[in-house]
């Protein structure tokens, strides 16, 4: 690996971390689409800033562009508040309007500035190492590494300082307001951080990938954990993983780095969506299958409990009495036997004491919905897990 390769991966990783932090809160606040709006509508701010500073990494340009991002959020909220259109429509109205102003500004001044729409949309990560930061004659590294590094430091400091405030205002804005933590202040603070991060990452990865890096790692983490801190940690890990593996995918395919990182994010999400232990598709299908069997088991046990006559409890007659297909009857019978809930004596099925108690308890739960008594059953049976 040469130093340019290391620098590219480092920039991509820092961008991924800087995006994952505000992204986690955007996902939890159901505001994922606002990041798309911000990433596009900062373009006019970026262009105007570029005319003034002639430097894509100038702090003034970043602030100007971030300001456009916050203005986007305010405009969306204003339009939404009229009650005439819903939030998604408001987003769809605001960002193309701002973005198109940026596009026209670039086109009108294309001869004077080195800024093209392709670079804005997809970024130029491969060229990032060429733009160096020189301080009194000493090369201290790529400019974009410094830019994103500073933004990330600020983001992490804010996250640590205001973690509690972010959590409470995201979960319960009403309570936060009544306790004196202004949800509006925190909301616009988060939007400002998201906007600044978007601008800082723009140069490296472009408008489209910024959205992917904000939303996809957080969405992956959301499927895997029930703890906010772990969700943040996982989102960061997934972001960095996609950044580095995406870089090598691009290297191998000789394709766009931004495109490859986004591809890795998509594949990662697909994998987690399928295989996540609790919320994953396969886990859900398995759980539903188990629940079906358990409902059958309970129906069967209840039948035994309610009928003492032998003809109702004959193995061969169970099928017609409860109206099951043969296969399911067999599974259920085996499950009941395995759990020592029934005895089969001369083809006549009867409940054991354990089976009898289980049935009473389960019926009791279903009728009263009283949780405490069946806590010990939750581990063995899916049916009772909420």
């Amino acid at each position: 690996m040469n130093s340019a390769q290391i620098e590219i991966q480092l920039i991509a990783s820092l961008v991924a971390i800087a995006c994952a932090i505000p992204g986690t809160f955007l996902v939890l606040r159901k505001m994922a689409m606002i990041s798309d709006a911000i990433s596009h509508s900062i373009l006019p701010g970026l262009v105007v800033g570029f005319f003034i500073t002639q430097d894509l990494n100038s702090p003034l340009l970043i602030l100007l562009a971030a300001l456009t991002g916050v203005i986007t959020v305010i405009l969306v909220e204003r339009i939404q508040k009229t009650g005439l259109v819903k939030e998604d429509t408001a987003i769809g109205l605001v960002f193309p309007a701002l973005f198109s102003i940026g596009v026209i500004l670039i086109a009108k001044n294309a001869n004077d500035v080195h800024l093209d729409v392709d670079a804005v949309l997809l970024g130029e990560l491969a060229f990032a190492p060429f733009d160096r930061l020189i301080i009194s004659g000493v090369d201290v590294g790529p400019k974009s590494l410094w830019v994103i590094g500073i933004i990330l430091s600020v983001t992490i400091t804010l996250l640590i300082a205001f973690f509690k405030e972010l959590k409470i205002s995201t979960f319960d804005a009403g309570l936060a307001a009544s306790l004196g933590f202004s949800p509006a202040l925190i909301h616009y603070g988060l939007m400002t951080v998201a906007s600044i991060t978007t601008v800082g990452s723009f140069d490296a990865v472009g408008a489209i990938l910024v959205v992917a890096l904000m939303i996809a790692p957080a969405a992956c983490a959301y499927l895997l954990t029930t703890d906010l801190k772990k969700m943040l940690g996982l989102a960061i890990i997934f972001g960095v993983f996609s950044a580095i593996s995406g870089y090598w995918l691009a290297h191998w395919l000789d394709a766009s780095i931004a495109g490859s990182i986004t591809t890795m994010l998509g594949l990662l999400f697909l994998f987690i969506y399928l295989f996540a232990p609790n919320k994953g598709l396969i886990a859900v299908i398995y759980r539903e299958k188990q629940q079906r069997i358990e409902v059958s088991l309970l129906t069967f046990l209840l039948h035994l409990k309610n009928h003492s006559e032998e003809r109702e409890r004959h193995v061969n007659h169970l099928q017609e009495h409860i109206n099951w297909q043969k296969v399911r009857a067999k599974t259920v019978l085996e499950l009941a036997l395995k759990n020592n809930m029934i005895l089969i004596d001369n083809k006549i099925v009867s409940l054991t004491q354990k089976g009898d108690e289980f049935t009473s308890k389960a019926i009791d739960y279903i009728i009263t919905n009283e949780d405490a008594q069946i806590e010990d059953m939750k581990d063995d049976f899916f049916l009772f897990r909420g």
Partner: protein, 263 residues
Amino acid sequence: MNRIKIMKEPSEKKEIPASAGRIAVQVDDLTVAYNYKPVLWDIDLEIPEGVLMAIVGPNGAGKSTLIKSILGILKPIAGSVSIYGKPYDQQRKLVAYVPQKGSVDWDFPTTALDVVMMGTYGSLGWIKRPGQKEKKAALEALEKVGMLPFKSRQISQLSGGQQQRIFLARALVQDASIYFMDEPFQGVDATTEIAIINILKELRKSGKTVIVVHHDLQTVPEYFDWVTFLNVKKIATGPVKDIFNDDNLTKTYGINYKVSIQE
């Protein structure tokens, strides 16, 4: 004609001489509007210290809005609110709030204990984090509502009644003087309802003021000693035994009500 049957209170219940105490919450000329349409019109309300008060009224009467305006969550277009004689901003620590259960996302990645801990954030203020002391208080509150065994459970894995108990525990941990609750009995099972009302009665017994947005008119005389009838305007407020009658119910709900007391 709607009829509501009410079980008469057992006679051993002692009346709290609420009117003798101080005024806990005072609302003057409060008007609140959404998009310039008033949802609360010129409300004057005095809530004495130590009452357990129900706010009743039809859907859209502004019950939640009234609570939210008192707590500074909504900005009124006119009028003022004071808590023990001072503006709410200066008295936050005296007030606890239980929002409607449906107002939050229960899929949020957090545990029961963590939600209860949020009740301590107010006394911590900005930036400072909860420590052992706050954790201990939260565990005690969980114990009080019978939810200690569920402290580590993710909140989406709790039943509706359990979620409501968690919300109640979060308010208890605030150790406030005045409790505002927005429909704490909504979607809970009978056991939880009894558990919650017992805790609310205990709060009143220890001198706290409890204000509850309530839907079930039948349980008003059994649960509460004070009631406010609200329908955009304030219809009436006072002790349940004096003002919970056909006249006020009809004025509030716009249909003929008949209260029949069962001995």
